[in-house]
Amino acid sequence: MAEAAAVVAESLAGYRARAARAVLEQVVLPGEELLLPGQEDGEGPGSAGERPLRLNAGARSGGRVVCGPGLRRCGDRLLVTKCGRLRHKEPGSGNGGGVYWVDSQQKRYVPVKGDHVIGIVTAKSGDIFKVDVGGSEPASLSYLSFEGATKRNRPNVQVGDLIYGQFVVANKDMEPEMVCIDSCGRANGMGVIGQDGLLFKVTLGLIRRLLAPDCEILQEVGKLYPLEIVFGMNGRIWVKAKTIQQTLILANILEACEHMTADQRKQIFSRLAES
């Protein structure tokens, strides 16, 4: 908290754009301006209009920079729109400036194209289902966008069913649209999620932490007992185990992981393994 306060003071007092390289893994605040590696030696933000774009001139950063969630491009300036830690990923191959994004804590989901989410069917109207995904507006889901569905062969989807699907249309001006097939027409695990199980909500940051390739939590959870989990990028988790008790334990662990240190977690898992 003290760190954040210091940042506020500095950004208000100095009112200068900071170099993105210098604030990596540090807290950034909405409204702040960041300078990309090629722009660092430029003047202040005041003369942004006349300042030549140095990105293409500099040989060391001769590629395109991707600004991910939490950042916004404004002309050739890079502005922060979310509060959180600034992260950076080196480009995978060849040149380019890599990816910058802000790792923020939030509960409100905003649909993003390509995200896999868990939705609840709220209405069935003619050709489309209305699916609640936790966004500002329910998403629409065509009955034809299921694997093997045709005009004659409708999928068996009821109001209240859980859907694991993907966004194909998601922008601020239009109604989000989901599908349950990939570009080849295969389900690949998408569609109606089976009976029973338990659905609960966590923060969006926790979902990303759990889905990270080297996540210890999931590896430990997987050793406990047979279980199935579905993670939606909209902060919803669906779990199912052999018994209701096991399912509840699972849900509680995952929820608690939000505010647990690695040691506390290990203690709990060892206690569970004993029982």
């Binding site: 293409n56 920079v65 600004c67 969630p69 050739d76 994004w101 695990g189 199935e228 939606g232």
Partner: protein, 160 residues
Amino acid sequence: MAAERKTKLSKNLLRMKFMQRGLDSETKKQLEEEEKKIISEEHWYLDLPELKEKESFIIEEQSFLLCEDLLYGRMSFRGFNPEVEKLMLQMNAKNKAEEVEEETVELDVSDEEMARRYETLVGTIGKKFAKKRDRANYEEDENGDIKPVKTKKMFLKPQD
């Protein structure tokens, strides 16, 4: 009066193809210029200041998928749902190495088996298309496979 009328042909008439031959170069040029003017006047254009936007080297992307290499969202552990477990391997392996997957494409029928199968098929299909007279030429060998009997064609001397 009469002479004046003779020299003054209308522009539209002069523009016609058969009139162009007799025209001198100066009037030709004049006509062309006028034509150009008419065409350019009829062209519409947007009365906007020129776009000064330079090519941007920052790309906006609102998805976390690109930033963090997230795993596939469906998981199953210790054999709870074998279908999902198989899918999990498949989807998560895709991120790591796509080339490896292509090499290990499972073959249902090996090439040798295919060749053996088609070997026997040659006779069977051949028999189907043979005429009734020739059908006797196809014989079944000890394996039950049908093979054409090779007979040498030769000239038969007609008997009288």
